[in-house]
């Protein structure tokens, strides 16, 4: 029995390693190329290690301005999303009302709508109301598109905070707003950070929304400006493209690790999505 179990474990290990090897190739390319003075399109041992690629891209024009734009866009929209979601989740989680169920169903329905499909009308609408090519317009749209899922997650996390603690506060004369701010939110710290990080990561990686709603190159976030490596600069410098990809991706990977740790294992999001 024991030997059969060992064989089975070895077979499982082998299967996983094959998949891991296939999945790791593109990742290996980006890391090796970023350090390679003569990078091309295939995975190869670098012709010597260098940080020149990073040196070349760490300029205001190529890296810092787009990253700052990303930060303003995604940070602003995340803040707006989390504040609105926390406020909205409170009555949904705390008070019985016949309005709750239809509202939650609508929210859940909206979480799975393909946002890509409405970008053309959003563009046309933004032209009409003069929000096209503005940071605030893009922030509002980002927040609205992320809000259904954020409300849904936030409400589920809030349901986990026992109501008794708040009732004590109410008898002491605290208002609903005070009890949300002082009691409920601090108790659901991990939940709030999951909603925050998840919203931010989704927006940081989003290409289509800023691509459609922003026009001025100076305002473009990193998700759009990365395409300039192909367009305007003639010969594609693959090493620099790889270096930029790493710089641009690192924040979201770190944030993901942060919440995965906090919730014990990387499986929290999968579980959260299941409802």
């Amino acid at each position: 029995m024991a030997s059969r179990r060992t064989t089975r474990r070895l077979a499982a290990d082998a299967g996983l390693l094959v998949v891991a090897a296939a999945f790791v190739l593109p990742l290996a390319w980006v890391i090796l190329s970023a350090l390679d003075p003569h990078a091309n399109l295939r995975v190869k041992t670098p012709d010597g290690l260098t940080l020149d690629n990073f040196d070349a891209i760490l300029t205001p024009e190529i890296t810092f301005t787009p990253l700052l734009n990303s930060l303003i866009l995604c940070g602003g929209a995340t803040l707006l999303t989390v504040v609105c979601a926390a406020l909205a989740a409170y009555p949904l989680s705390r008070f019985r009302s016949r309005f709750n169920r239809p509202f939650l169903l609508t929210i859940l329905f909206a979480t799975s709508l393909p946002i890509t499909a409405i970008m053309v009308p959003v563009y046309a609408l933004f032209v009409q109301v003069d929000l096209i090519d503005t940071m605030q317009g893009t922030i509002f749209f980002f927040a609205a598109s992320q809000l259904p899922f954020a409300i849904w997650l936030m409400k589920n996390f809030m349901d986990g905070v026992p109501k008794e603690l708040e009732e004590a506060a109410w008898t002491d004369g605290a208002s609903a707003f005070q009890s949300l701010l002082r009691i409920v939110l601090p108790l659901m710290g991990p939940g709030v950070s999951v909603v925050t990080v998840f919203s931010f990561v989704m927006m940081w990686g989003n290409f289509f929304v800023p691509f459609m709603l922003l026009l001025t190159p100076d305002q473009m976030p990193a998700s759009v400006s990365i395409n300039d490596f192909f367009g305007n600069r003639g010969m594609v410098a693959y090493g620099q493209l790889a270096a930029f990809s790493i710089v641009y991706s690192t924040p979201v990977i770190l944030l993901y690790v942060l919440i995965a740790r906090r919730l014990g294992g990387g499986f929290a999001l999968g579980g959260a999505v299941k409802g």
């Binding site: 474990r9 290990d13 299967g15 998949v19 891991a20 999945f23 593109p26 990742l27 980006v30 190329s33 399109l41 295939r42 504040v83 609105c84 979601a85 406020l87 909205a88 009555p91 008070f95 009302s97 509202f103 939650l104 859940l108 329905f109 799975s112 709508l113 393909p114 890509t116 970008m119 053309v120 009308p121 959003v122 563009y123 609408l125 605030q136 927040a143 609205a144 598109s145 009732e167 109410w170 208002s175 609903a176 707003f177 940081w204 990686g205 989003n206 290409f207 998700s223 990365i226 395409n227 493209l241 990809s245 979201v252 990977i253 993901y256 990387g266 499986f267 999968g270 999505v273 299941k274």
Partner: protein
């Protein structure tokens, strides 16, 4: 964020009458207002506008006033070969990458992880999840490099003495489907790992004692027990795959010759390269309707949980 409508603080409500039962009506509605305003203006608004302009001939430039054209955009679409091509490619892309690829591979990985040793499990999980967490455009570049004529895949095929080819030219839809599998499998893996962990050990062990082999256990015990997760996962994967734009845009721009042009890319091309906003929006509306349909099925699957 001062423009988000001055939020009236709900502190004023006197709840002296029923202190223990919590505050009254305004407090139940007011906190919802910022979210509702934002959703109405920036989500419901565009959807309503989408329905309106899908029935007009709105163009990008040089037009004083758009006019109502009824179902013209839709009849035009169904007679447009490029549109039908995009529908077909969207179907191929969804079936290959979401239903077959992400879903099956995700389940296989989750099942293998149940038995594998911890270091291998952690390593594989880490790599697969990294592919998922990377920004869409970066994933696009990595797989562009992988599938290019002078890229890694052909290098490996050469090394194995197998014929290489220019994947992005000969089989672009296959290349972007594989890219979507690479990027999206982690989600299925996470959902299925969570589901498999919830199956009580006694059940699988009992079946093992009764002599049920690996495949039979999978088919008769494991799959029926996680069928709700399978439904949820298929729905979410499909919805996500239907709206993939950046990945394909970076890898092929929908080309060559429209051979990887799924509906989102077709919609974009009509609206912006051909300046036909009305027509592009009609296509968008069809996509939205398909998405809503899947969304409703998904809601039904979750019905008991709300």
């Amino acid at each position: 964020m001062t423009t988000t409508a001055p939020h009236p603080r709900p502190t004023k409500t006197p709840d002296a009458e029923h202190p223990a039962r919590g505050p009254r009506l305004p407090v139940r509605i007011l906190p919802l207002t910022p979210a509702i305003v934002l959703l109405l203006l920036f989500l419901a608004g565009p959807i309503a506008y989408c329905v309106y302009i899908a029935f007009t001939d709105l163009q990008l430039t040089g037009q004083a006033q758009e006019s109502f054209v009824g179902f013209d955009n839709f009849t035009r679409a169904f007679g447009d070969e490029a549109f039908l091509n995009a529908v077909w490619l969207t179907l191929v892309f969804t079936v290959l990458s979401s239903l077959i690829g992400q879903n099956t591979l995700g389940l296989a990985l989750a099942a293998l992880m149940q038995r594998a040793s911890k270091p291998v499990r952690t390593l594989t999980g880490g790599i697969v999840v990294t592919a998922w967490v990377l920004p869409e455009v970066v994933a696009g570049f990595l797989l562009y490099a992988f599938f290019r004529r002078e890229g890694t895949l052909n290098a490996i095929l050469d090394w194995l003495h197998l014929p290489s080819q220019n994947w992005l030219f000969t089989l672009p839809i296959l290349a972007v489907s594989f890219a979507n599998v690479w990027r999206g499998t982690a989600f299925s893996m996470l959902v299925y790992s969570a589901a498999l962990n919830e199956i009580p050990k006694e059940i699988t062990e009992a079946a093992e004692v009764d002599g049920a082999g690996g495949w039979r256990r999978m088919w008769h015990i494991t799959l029926p027990m996680i069928r709700r997760s399978i439904g949820t996962n298929l729905m979410l994967n499909t919805l996500q795959t239907l709206s993939v734009f950046g990945l394909i845009w970076v890898m092929t721009r929908g080309g060559p010759g429209g051979r990887s042009q799924t509906l989102p890319l077709f919609m974009y091309e009509q609206a912006f390269q051909n300046s036909l906003i009305g027509y592009g929006t009609a296509v968008a509306l069809l996509l939205l309707l398909v998405g809503s349909l899947f969304s409703l099925i998904y809601l039904r699957l979750l019905r008991t949980e709300v």
